[in-house]
């Protein structure tokens, strides 16, 4: 994608996200849990679908009449379940498309993310195959229209000896067994979809497959509300002797039929295949130069496993230690999975600047910015700080640009990801401040909640500073001197305001202490 267009699209996405942030808070923002909502809607469909299946009869007339019975005679449960099933399916498409758009705008289709991206492409086809098949089960005019249109579309492919559309030529052409087949397909294809969704998340650890509880209840309530306010009903029963002239289409799934009739099957196939190929080939487009991956130093690794627990992409695992007679286990990095975020180095207890070693070597480290280099950067910068509220601003390369808040008394340091920061560096900067050549405060910034480019960098940092995750910021470090102010790329003005307020607070505290 052209970088200008992408930047503008990214700004638009962030503006919309900001609106949702204000209403829901970043943690419960549905736009930050689109994948999880997809899983959630799948389970709503599964539960409601199992209920509907218990009452569904397979037969040319029974199919329609059993759904009608559920809809009208058992409206209080069967009808609501049917509506929930349909609306959850529509919501599934909505979040799937939004998820795809958001990941595209964020260019999350290349580099180490290629696997998740590529395995997401078949989900589109499976989702549509599942959904469209579901419409046919009702066997009303919409089903008739969709079945005929789909088979006419498929017949354009030179795969079938006899046109599939002949199966819907006359009322006598459809028999009861067709609905048994459809039932199996409508169970089998969604199961395949679920399997493909599972594969899709295999290369990420702690995958977000369930939305936060409040968001889950909220979306379910919204679906239930629309189910009651506008229950799903069938159109007239299918009659293959008559062509449905006006069709109340579900545009989330069936838009492809009008598209075909308004253009041609060839154009529609061209668009479908073209989009699929483009999506599948996206990881090959303009690959960024791969960053060096995390490196393990066996003599400094005691196999504690914190890097394994914190890695967002399951790229680190524990293996028997290569140095006999030391520790049982050591970390090992899978270069193919490593995102070069440095979160592992931030999690390593040996990444502490207080160590007296001449050259600081961490158990696991990033070659492009080793902990030793980071300490040197701190040391050099801290001695230059002057003024009443000397502040270190530590940010990340993916979020607000910390160099844009540079000024007197401010040391800006940018890491690959804020999760790359060992909390001991905060203490290091403040302790040196008390000794005269350090900082009075440390401001931490990075991607906003739920928006970390490496998934968990900001979340792990918050937990480390709150003492909820190892390695934690020690309790005696005064919390008013270490503050978090998340700001995405483009939100440098917000960061500047947070910094000004933080420094003003530091001045006040100092004055009060005197």
């Amino acid at each position: 994608m052209d970088s200008n267009i992408r930047t503008q699209a990214l700004s638009a996405v962030r503006a919309v996200e900001a609106v949702f942030d204000r209403a829901f808070g970043a943690r419960d923002n549905p736009l930050r849990h689109l994948g999880a909502l997809g899983f959630y809607f799948f389970w709503v469909m599964a539960v409601s679908g199992i209920y509907l299946y218990a009452f569904y009869d397979t037969g040319v007339t029974d199919a329609y009449s059993s759904v009608e019975w559920l809809t009208h005679d058992q409206w209080y449960l069967g009808g609501v379940m049917r509506s929930l099933h349909r609306y959850a399916a529509d919501a599934f498409v909505l979040v799937m498309v939004l998820h795809l758009a958001k990941e595209t705008v964020n260019a999350r289709y290349r580099g180490f993310r290629w696997f998740s991206w590529l395995t997401g492409v078949p989900l589109l086809w499976l989702a549509y195959a599942s959904g469209i098949g579901g419409y046919w089960l009702v066997w009303d005019e919409v089903a008739q229209f969709s079945a005929t249109a789909t088979t006419e579309w498929l017949d354009w492919l030179p795969l079938f000896g006899e046109p599939l559309a002949r199966n819907f030529l006359t009322p006598a052409a459809v028999n009861d067994r067709f609905f048994s087949l459809l039932s199996f397909l409508h169970i089998g294809i969604p199961l395949l979809l679920l399997l493909a969704m599972w594969v899709h998340i295999q290369r990420v650890s702690l995958a977000d497959v369930a939305p936060p509880r409040r968001l889950g209840w909220g979306t379910l309530a919204a679906l239930a509300a629309v189910s009651v306010a506008k229950p799903v009903v069938s159109a007239a029963a299918a009659d293959l002797a008559t062509e449905p002239a006006q069709v109340a289409l579900d545009w989330f799934y069936l838009f492809v039929h009008p598209l075909m009739y308004q253009s041609s099957p060839a154009i529609t196939w061209g668009l479908a295949f073209g989009a699929t190929l483009l999506l599948a080939a996206a990881p090959l487009l303009r690959q960024p130069k791969p960053a060096p991956v995390a490196r393990v130093s066996p003599p400094d690794c005691n196999g504690c496993g914190r890097c394994v627990a914190d890695c967002p992409f399951s790229a680190v695992r524990l293996v028997p230690h290569s140095l006999k007679g030391t520790y049982k286990l050591q970390a090992q990095v899978d270069a193919a999975l490593c995102a070069s975020c440095g979160i592992c180095a931030g999690a390593c207890p040996s990444s502490t600047p207080f160590r007296s070693a001449g050259e600081l070597v961490s158990g696991i480290d990033m070659p492009q910015l080793p902990i030793d280099a980071l300490r040197r950067q701190f040391n050099a910068g801290l001695t230059q700080l002057s003024g009443p509220a000397r502040t270190v601003v530590i940010g990340c390369d993916c979020a607000a640009d910390v160099s844009r808040v540079a000024g007197t008394g401010v040391l800006e340091i940018s890491l690959p990801c804020i999760g790359n920061l060992p909390p001991t560096f905060i203490e290091y900067a403040l302790r040196r401040g008390r000794q005269g050549d350090g900082a009075d405060g440390v401001l931490i910034t990075g991607c906003r909640e739920g928006d970390c480019a490496y998934r968990f960098g900001n979340e792990w940092t918050e937990q480390r500073l709150a003492g909820e995750r190892e390695p934690h910021l020690r309790l005696h470090v005064p919390r008013h001197r270490a503050r978090i102010a998340w700001a995405n790329s483009g939100e440098e003005a917000d960061l500047a305001r947070s910094l000004a307020a933080f420094r003003a607070g530091l001045v006040q505290k100092t004055a009060a202490a005197l």
Binding site: G25, G161, E162, E243, A245, F252
Partner: protein, 166 residues
Amino acid sequence: MNNTTRFLGQAVLYGLFALAIGYFSTAPAYTHLAPGQALLKLSFSHGAQRVGECRDRSDEELAKLSPNMRIRQDCPRERAPVIVELELDGARLYRESLPPSGLSRDGPASVYRRFVVPAGTHRLAARLSDNAKGEFNYRGEKTVTLAPAQIVVVEFHAASGFQFLH
């Protein structure tokens, strides 16, 4: 933003979500056939005659074949294309030469075509050739009266010829 405003904001956004789902699940309606239009579908699957004549093998030829292959008659596999013509009220609506299916061109030729036609009374005529000479050896015609959105299906079976189902 205080809690009341936040909850109001959430209510609005949940409402928009529900509204979008509820609306686009059935609307806007798609007009597939304009008022006053009907549909004509031509469809059949038919194995045409073979392109060459069958001949009897001589005793010598049979003797050269393995015992399980000794069938007297030797017929070429390839079938002729099926040529079909369809007329609506005396005007040609469709003409096509349909090739036999299969790698050896020995399978049936198939067609499925749909035509949007005005509702009302129409004279339909169909002709079909299934021989190598291209002579029309099947014909059928019928006057049909179609209500709006009604479908008439023109089918063909070798045994019964053209059928006009509506």
